[in-house]
């Protein structure tokens, strides 16, 4: 425990890193399958089946990253977990009901009698939409410091829409990668329509964060930090430009580069997330509780860390394995 210096310093830092990593993995992975759900109304019946098939083997594990993220918040920073979740009581409840609806709709739409399928398709869409909107809302409230004022709620409603469009964008890039023919062409259009949501969302949060807190403003706009940080916005802008020029020409002959929009979208997500993490560090509840104040006892964190070092690489390993097994274009999902 004392190998790396004071455990009350490095353990909270490591756990903040782990939690950040799970949130990031979650928003990318569940982001794309939530996005597929949000795009549901724009697809016809056959396309819906193929869209479901493209996320069917993955969604459950994708959602587990949310459980890990909130679990790490719970176990590593218990007082922050309480403070954040009681402040976000209502959006959390809406998100949970959304997650319930879409999660079970996966199974029910495939098993219920044909006339009920429409109902479950609607449940899948509604659930995905509720989840995306409430997550965007929570993001906005978090950025604004978790205070329920009119201006904050208005901002949070804006981020709710942006995150939802952002999810549908990354969902569309996933569909581009996993499908072909007419649906793929459709997905390219969806992606072209959705990219603005991502850009506006990242822009809104990047602009709002420094103005909410002078501390964050100083972190970004003081010399020489501004220089060290400049690659972040520049690279993001380049990525957006690259994505746009690529999407305009898609699909390429022989399905070349079909994975690249998804990869570029993921890279954008990582940039945006990195920027946010830099802004808020060392706070876990914005401007109120730092990760060092909220952290659990070192001996408890240490015993979790031992397990994490063994288990997390294993999880990564078999997650990759499952993506490899179900690689390629989505085909019908068969139990046998």
């Amino acid at each position: 425990m004392y190998y790396f210096g004071d455990p009350t310093i490095w353990l909270p830092f490591v756990f903040a890193g782990l939690m950040g990593a799970s949130i990031l993995i979650y928003v990318v992975l569940d982001g794309f399958d939530l996005g597929v759900g949000v795009l549901f109304p724009f697809a016809n019946e056959d396309e819906k089946d193929r869209m479901i098939a493209s996320i069917g083997p993955f969604w459950d594990a994708n959602e587990t990253w949310l459980v890990l993220a909130v679990g790490l918040l719970l176990v590593a920073f218990p007082s922050a977990h309480g403070a954040i979740l009681t402040a976000l009581y209502l959006p959390v409840a809406i998100m949970l009901i959304g997650l319930i609806l879409r999660g079970v709709a996966f199974e029910f739409r495939a098993k219920a009698p044909a006339p009920h399928k429409r109902l479950w398709n609607n449940a899948f869409f509604t659930g995905s939409l509720m989840t995306s909107l409430s997550q965007g809302f929570m993001l906005g409230m978090y950025v604004m410091g978790l205070e329920w004022t009119w201006i904050n709620v208005a901002f949070a409603m804006l981020t709710a829409v942006f995150l939802t469009v952002g999810y549908s964008f990354i969902g569309a890039t996933w569909v581009i990668h996993k499908t072909s023919d007419a649906l793929q062409i459709k997905a390219v259009e969806w992606a072209k329509g959705g990219i603005w949501g991502l850009v506006l969302g990242i822009g809104a949060i990047s602009l709002a964060t420094p103005f909410v807190s002078a501390r964050i403003f100083d972190k970004w706009f003081s010399w020489p930090e501004a220089i060290y940080l400049s690659p972040l916005p520049i690279l993001s802008a380049l990525l957006v430009f690259w994505l746009w020029s690529m999407l305009r020409k898609m699909p390429y002959a022989g399905d070349r580069r079909s994975w690249q929009p998804f990869a570029a979208a993921t890279a954008l997500w990582v940039m945006a997330f990195g920027g946010m993490a830099y802004s808020f560090y060392p706070y876990v509840v914005p401007e109120q509780i730092t990760i060092y104040e909220a952290a659990s006892a070192p001996e408890s964190l240490f015993i979790i860390l031992i397990g994490t070092c063994v288990v997390l690489p294993t999880i990564m390993g078999y997650t990759v394995l499952s993506y490899v097994i179900f690689r390629g274009k989505a085909t019908e999902l068969r139990y046998d």
């Binding site: 319930i100 408890s300 068969r334």
Partner: protein
Amino acid sequence: MELETLLLSRIQFAANISFHILFPTITIALGWVLLFFKLRYNRTGEERWMEAYRFWVKIFALSFAMGVVSGITMSFQFGTNWPGFMEKVGNIAGPLLAYEIMTAFFLEAVFLGIMLFGFSRVPNWVHTLATFLVAFGTMMSAFWIIVLNSWMHTPQGFEMIDGVAHATDWSAIIFNPSMPYRFTHMVLASFLTVSFLIAGVSAFRWLIGGRTEGVRVAMKTAIIAAAVLIPVQILVGDFHGLNTKEYQPAKVAAMEGNWETDTGVPLILFAIPDEEARENRFEIGIPKLASFILTHDWNGEVKGLNDFVTEDGEVLHPRVSPVFWSFRVMVGTGLLMLLVSWSATYMIMRRKRGIEGLPKPMLYGLVGMSFSGWLATLAGWYTTEIGRQPWLVQGVMTTKEAVADVPAPLVLSTLIAYLVVYAALLFAYIFVIFYLARKTARGEDIGTRIAPSPAAAPKAMPAE
């Protein structure tokens, strides 16, 4: 703290966790049953085992999804409604929950995809391995959460520093006194629930004409498993009760409806406990039997509820009626399970008649018992959880200390939303199980999950 918020938060948590536990109760054991079907198939190459596998893996997938989504709700509820819990005992509960997520949730979730959709994509042994890992994952998940739950009943291996629990001995925390009993009791409950579910749904399929080899083999496996496990469960339940008597005597007193500490205490079969007057009305009991069961001595001393009221009148025992009644529902259901499974086994074994030996009333009875495991499991959990009140962690913190100061109307409105969703889903779940049963009984294929795209296969099957 408003009283309404506490009560509503308790109801909300109870609603969420009651809904949630229905599905793990099925998946914990059904995973192993599926592995059994798969291994029999690998061994014998007989199609009937695979037929049983293919039907029940769908119920598994459905139950698993229900369990996952309702479980996510649980992980948020700690923070939204019970922040005091993690603030006080987070150092103990945290690592246990973290291990559950890391060693169980990901394992189940990832290999479930391969188990459900990978049969034609991976070698057979990988598919069997995936089935094993999913079953193992559900078991691990049950293990960790039962460790935490048991620790809340019989906390050990910690010290309090400035009002916060700190772990001192992890093996004492994990192997706390009630854990082995509770874990065994729950796993057996799961196997019994699944046995009666398989027997009931198979009997239903048999009755409506789906008399395939797969139905036959599933029903026989389930009935015999139930008959073997129910006496074991009754025995384990007894041991669990003795353990509770040692560590949580107030709970046992409430289960027995016993107000006064006494020797030669009767076993009360029926009574209406009166919390105000602190006595039972309309009591019917068997003399001295409670003493005998709890102390294995006809004149043994059994503690009564009145011992758990402090001198200034604070009541440190649970409300009696819910504990008293849910205990009786559990035991009654268990005894009915014993009766039904043993008679059904006798009918099957008699002159080796197999499933044909089961008369119609028995088949109807089995259908009626399809969800008896749920009833017994819920009643058992109510007994133990309400029985722990007013404590959240026995002797360490009360439930009242942990609740969040959320406005009562907010708790109420979300509670109503959850209840509506849960009621609808429960209805849909049971409906779809019997729909799939009817569909297979008509000989229709339920193997295809999603209709093939017209391009891939011109003769598209009707979408399910």
